[in-house]
C-alpha cells in the first residue's frame, strides 16, 4: 500500500505519491513548528465555534475554565495561596494523564519513522496493563524495587510481543500493519474483557460480583513524588516516560538501528539496496513501538489505577489518542512531549470533577475534546493542505512568468 515491502514491489508507478515518511520529512523541513501550532489553533477555533453555535455560551470563558482545570496556571508566578495549591493538584493530574500519552505517542511515532502506521497502540497498552496488573497483584512477598521492575518489564515485553506479531507478519508475508494492528487491538480488548469478566481467570478473588481485577499490592505501586499519595499524587512514572523520550531520540538519531529504521521509512527499496535488512527493521520498529505502549499500560496500573476492570478496557482511549499525539508532535521527541501535555491537559480540564457545569457541561466538553482531536489529526494532513496551497501558488507564479515571457 503506501509503503509496499520487499522484492515483490511492483515497479514504482510514474506519478505515484512518494512514501508517507518521505513526504513527512519534506513537511518537517518545510513547515517546522508552525503548522502544528496553526493546526492546534485552528482546531480550538472550530471547537469554540461549536460551543458558541450549540450552547450560545462564550467560548473564551469555557476555554478559560478548562484551562484553569488543567493546573497549567501553576506555571504563572502570580497565582498564589489557595489557588496555587489547587493548581498544583490539577497539574499533578494533567501530568498523570500526559505520562501514558507520551508513551503511546512514541509507540505511533517510532513505527511512523519506519514507514509504518501503528494503530495498535490501544491493544498494546491493554496487553501491557493486563500483564502489569497480573504481576503486580501476584508475588506478594517480593521486595519493592524488584516487584516494580518485574511488573514494568513484563508489561513492556508483552506490549512488544503483541506489536511484534504485526511486525513479523509485515516482515515475512507483507501483511499490512494497519489491518493487523486493528485486528490485534480488538483481540486484546475482547481477551481483556474475558480475563477480567465475571468468572474470568484474572477476575478479583475478593469481589466475586464485580468484573474487575485484583488490586496491585503495595510493594508494586510506584512511589509518589509530588502531592499526596492518598489524593492520587504524581508518581515517578513520569520519569520513565521522559526517559523513554530521550531513549527514542537517541535510538533514532544516534544508533545504527535508528539509522536503518529511518532509512527504511524514507525508502525501503533504497534501504534494501544499501544492504539494510528491511524485514528486520519492520519487525524491530514494531516491537519497540509495542514496548512503549506496553510500558504506558504498566505505568497507569502501577502508578494510580492499581486495578483494571471491564469498564476501563471499554472506555480507554489512551492508545488512540497516542495517534493524535504523534501526528501533532510530528513524530519528534520534543513534539510528542508537548502534544502529550496538551492532550493530557485537555482530558484533565474537561473531566467531570473539574469543569463547573454552570460554565459548561463536562460531558459536552469531553466530546469537544474528541472533536478537537479529530480536527487535529485531520489537519495534520493539512500539512498537505499547506503544501497544496504552496504548490498552487508556485504553479500560479509559473504561469504568470510564462505569460510574462510570452507577452
Amino acid at each position: 500500500m503506501s509503503t509496499p515491502a520487499g522484492p515483490a514491489l511492483p515497479p514504482a508507478e510514474e506519478g505515484a505519491a512518494p512514501t508517507f515518511a518521505a513526504r513527512l520529512a519534506l513537511y518537517q523541513r518545510a513547515g517546522g513548528i508552525v503548522t502544528p501550532i496553526l493546526t492546534a489553533a485552528f482546531a480550538f477555533f472550530v471547537g469554540g465555534l461549536v460551543v458558541l453555535l450549540t450552547t450560545g455560551k462564550n467560548p473564551l470563558t469555557t476555554y478559560e475554565a478548562i484551562f484553569d482545570g488543567t493546573g497549567l496556571n501553576w506555571l504563572f508566578p502570580w497565582v498564589s495561596g489557595q489557588d496555587r495549591f489547587l493548581a498544583s493538584l490539577n497539574l499533578q493530574q494533567t501530568l498523570l494523564l500526559a505520562t501514558p500519552l507520551m508513551l503511546t505517542g512514541l509507540a505511533v511515532a517510532f513505527a511512523f519513522r519506519c514507514g509504518m502506521f501503528n494503530i495498535g497502540g490501544q491493544g498494546q497498552y491493554i496487553v501491557g496493563a493486563t500483564f502489569a496488573v497480573w504481576v503486580g497483584s501476584s508475588f506478594s512477598e517480593l521486595a519493592r524495587p524488584l516487584h516494580i521492575a518485574l511488573a514494568v518489564v513484563a508489561a513492556a515485553v508483552a506490549g512488544a510481543v503483541w506489536a511484534g506479531i504485526a511486525g513479523l507478519l509485515k516482515a515475512t508475508v507483507g501483511a499490512h500493519e494497519v489491518i493487523t494492528t486493528i485486528m490485534l487491538n480488538w483481540i486484546a480488548i475482547w481477551v481483556g474483557l474475558y480475563l477480567f469478566g465475571l468468572g474470568g481467570p484474572l477476575q478479583s478473588s475478593t469481589q466475586e460480583s464485580v468484573p474487575i481485577s485484583n488490586d496491585v499490592v503495595a510493594a508494586a505501586k510506584l512511589p509518589v513524588f509530588w502531592g499526596d499519595p492518598l489524593l492520587q499524587g504524581l508518581h515517578i512514572g513520569l520519569f520513565f516516560a521522559l526517559g523513554a523520550l530521550v531513549a527514542y531520540w537517541v535510538t533514532l538519531n544516534r544508533t545504527t538501528l535508528g539509522y536503518e529504521v529511518r532509512a527504511v521509512g524514507f525508502n525501503p527499496e533504497a534501504a534494501r539496496y544499501g544492504g539494510i535488512s528491511v524485514p528486520r527493521s519492520y519487525f524491530l520498529a514494531m516491537a519497540i513501538s509495542g514496548l512503549f505502549a506496553g510500558l504506558a499500560g504498566a505505568l497507569d496500573i502501577l502508578g494510580w489505577q492499581f486495578r483494571i476492570g471491564q469498564a476501563d478496557i471499554q472506555v480507554s482511549q489512551i492508545g488512540f489518542i497516542g495517534i493524535a499525539v504523534a501526528l501533532l508532535g510530528r513524530n519528534t521527541a520534543v513534539g510528542v512531549f508537548l502534544s502529550a501535555i496538551l492532550f493530557g491537559a485537555l482530558l484533565q480540564g474537561t473531566s467531570t470533577r473539574n469543569l463547573d457545569p454552570e460554565i459548561f457541561r463536562a460531558e459536552l466538553a469531553s466530546n469537544l475534546t474528541l472533536i478537537i482531536q479529530g480536527l487535529v489529526v485531520l489537519f495534520v494532513g493539512a500539512d498537505v493542505l499547506i503544501l497544496y496551497l504552496w504548490q498552487a501558488r508556485r504553479k500560479l507564479g509559473l504561469t504568470r512568468r510564462k505569460a510574462a515571457t510570452e507577452a
Binding site: M1, S2, P10, E13, E14, G15, A16, A17, F20, V50, T54, T55, F117, I119, L169, V173, A175, H176, V178, I179, T180, I182, M183, L184, W186, I187, I189, W190, V191, L193, Y194, G197, L198, G199, G200, Q314, F320, I323, A324, L327, E363, L364, S366, N367, L368, T369, L370, I371, Q373, G374, L375, V376, V377, L378, V380, G381, A382, V384, L385, Y388
Partner: protein
C-alpha cells in the same frame, strides 16, 4: 484484475465444481457435519462420530490443498479440526446444556441480526476500497448513521426520514474523508482515523446536548416484515417469518452491489480506478470523480448499518454504540477477499460467532462466551497472514493519485 475476477464477471463457471475444488467444498461440509451431528436435534453422544467425519474432512482438505486448491483445501482442514474440537466438546457437555445453547432457529435469527450491520459496513468498505481508497472511517460513518437516523426519526416521526438523514450524515462524513484523501492526497489511514474521532465527538456532543440524561426519545423505528406464510415451515419459519426490513434491504443491496460492481460499466470503472488509476485515466475515466462517488456511497452504506442498529434493532442511541462493528465490517471485507458474497459470508460467520457468544453464558457461566467475540479478528489475521490462501486487496488501494 485477476483471472478469477474476470472469470466470475463473465458468469458462473460450472467446471469449477468438479475435481479438487468439489472435494475441498465437500470437506468443509463434512467438517460442519462433524460438529452438527453432536448438537441438537441428533446429539450423537459418542466422540467417535465427530472424530471420524472430521478426519475425513481433513483428508479431503489435504488432498485438495496438494492439488492446487490451497485456499479451499486449508479451509476444509480447518473446518475438520473445528468440527472435531466442537463435536468432542459437545459430546462431553450435558444434553440439557446443549439444548439451552443450541436452538438453531434462534441462533439463525440472532446471526442475521448481528450480521446485518456488518454486511452494510462491509459493502460500504467494498465500494471505497475497490476504487482505491482505504476506508477505516467506516466505524465513524456508521456511528453518524446511528445518531442522525434516530434523531431525524424522532423529529419527523417517520423512519423513512430517519434512514435518509442517516445516509446523508454518513455520506457527508465520507465526503470529508474523500476530500482529504483524494483531493489533498493526505494519508488515507490518517484521514480515516480522524474521521472516526470526529464522528465519536460529534455524535457524543449532540447526544448530550440534545438529549442529556434522559436518553433518546422513543421512536417507532423501522418496521419488521411479516411473512405469515412461512410461519409453519420447519427451521426457516422462526428465522425468516419476522425480520426487520433493514435485513431484507441488506440482502437486496448485497445483490445490487454484486451486479453493479461486476456486471455494469460503472463497476468496471470503479474497479479499474482501484487497480490501475493511470490506465483508467488514459481511457478517459475521471479518477477523482469515480473515487469521490465510491467513497460517498461507502459512507451512505455504512450509515445504513448504523441506522439499523439505532432505529431497526435497539430503538435507542448510546455514545459509541457501534463499539467496533465498523471494524468487524472491515474485517469481513478483508476476510471475504474484497468480494460482495465473500464479505457477506464472512459477516454471517462473524454474526454467528457473536450469536453463539451471546447464548453460551446461559449454560456455561458468564465469561466464557466472550472469547468467541475474538473469532472475527483472529480469522482475519490468519487470512491476511496468507495461511489460508491469500487475501489480495485492489492493487492501488491506499495510494493517493496525482492527476497529470
Amino acid at each position: 484484475m485477476s483471472a478469477r475476477a474476470e472469470a466470475s464477471s463473465r458468469g458462473f463457471d460450472w467446471s469449477r465444481l468438479s475435481g479438487p475444488r468439489a472435494i475441498a467444498i465437500a470437506g468443509i461440509v463434512l467438517g460442519a457435519l462433524a460438529f452438527w451431528l453432536a448438537l441438537p436435534p441428533l446429539k450423537s453422544r459418542t466422540a467417535f462420530v465427530p472424530l471420524l467425519i472430521g478426519i475425513l474432512a481433513i483428508a479431503a482438505g489435504i488432498w485438495a490443498a496438494t492439488r492446487g486448491q490451497r485456499r479451499l483445501g486449508w479451509g476444509a482442514i480447518v473446518a475438520g479440526l473445528v468440527g472435531i474440537a466442537g463435536g468432542v466438546l459437545a459430546t462431553r457437555s450435558s444434553a440439557a446444556d446443549l439444548d439451552i445453547v443450541v436452538v438453531w432457529s434462534a441462533l439463525g435469527a440472532a446471526t442475521l441480526r448481528y450480521a446485518t450491520p456488518l454486511t452494510f459496513a462491509a459493502l460500504g468498505g467494498l465500494f471505497a476500497e475497490r476504487s482505491g481508497v482505504v476506508n477505516i472511517g467506516l466505524e465513524g460513518m456508521m456511528l453518524m448513521g446511528a445518531f442522525f437516523g434516530i434523531w431525524a426519526n424522532a423529529e419527523s416521526g417517520s423512519w423513512v426520514v430517519g434512514i435518509l438523514a442517516a445516509m446523508a450524515a454518513g455520506g457527508l462524513l465520507a465526503l470529508i474523508h474523500a476530500f482529504f484523501s483524494i483531493h489533498l492526497r493526505a494519508d488515507q489511514i490518517v484521514s480515516g482515523t480522524a474521521v472516526n474521532f470526529l464522528a465519536l465527538g460529534i455524535t457524543g456532543y449532540l447526544y448530550i446536548d440534545l438529549y442529556g440524561d434522559q436518553g433518546t426519545p422513543s421512536v417507532s423505528g423501522i418496521p419488521d416484515v411479516r411473512l405469515s406464510f412461512l410461519d409453519d415451515v420447519y427451521f426457516l419459519g422462526p428465522i425468516f417469518a419476522q425480520l426487520n426490513l433493514m435485513i431484507w434491504i441488506s440482502f437486496a443491496l448485497l445483490i445490487a452491489t454484486y451486479v453493479v460492481m461486476f456486471k455494469t460499466k460503472v463497476g468496471l470503472r470503479i474497479r479499474s480506478v482501484g487497480e490501475h488509476p493511470r490506465a483508467a485515466e488514459t481511457v478517459g475515466i475521471s479518477v477523482y470523480r469515480t473515487r469521490y462517488a465510491a467513497v460517498t456511497v461507502s459512507g451512505m452504506l455504512a450509515a445504513l448499518g448504523g441506522a439499523y442498529l439505532s432505529i431497526g434493532f435497539v430503538h435507542a442511541f448510546g455514545e459509541n454504540m457501534t463499539a467496533g462493528k465498523g471494524f468487524i465490517g472491515l474485517a469481513a471485507l478483508i476476510f471475504g477477499n474484497w468480494r460482495p458474497f465473500g464479505a457477506f459470508g464472512a459477516a454471517l460467520l462473524f454474526g454467528f460467532s457473536s450469536a453463539l457468544a451471546q447464548r453460551l453464558p446461559d449454560a456455561y457461566g458468564t465469561s466464557s462466551g466472550t472469547l468467541f467475540e475474538t473469532l472475527p479478528y483472529v480469522l482475519t489475521l490468519i487470512a491476511v497472514a496468507g495461511v489460508i490462501g491469500r487475501s489480495r486487496p485492489p492493487a492501488a488501494v491506499g495510494r493517493p493519485y496525482q492527476k497529470q
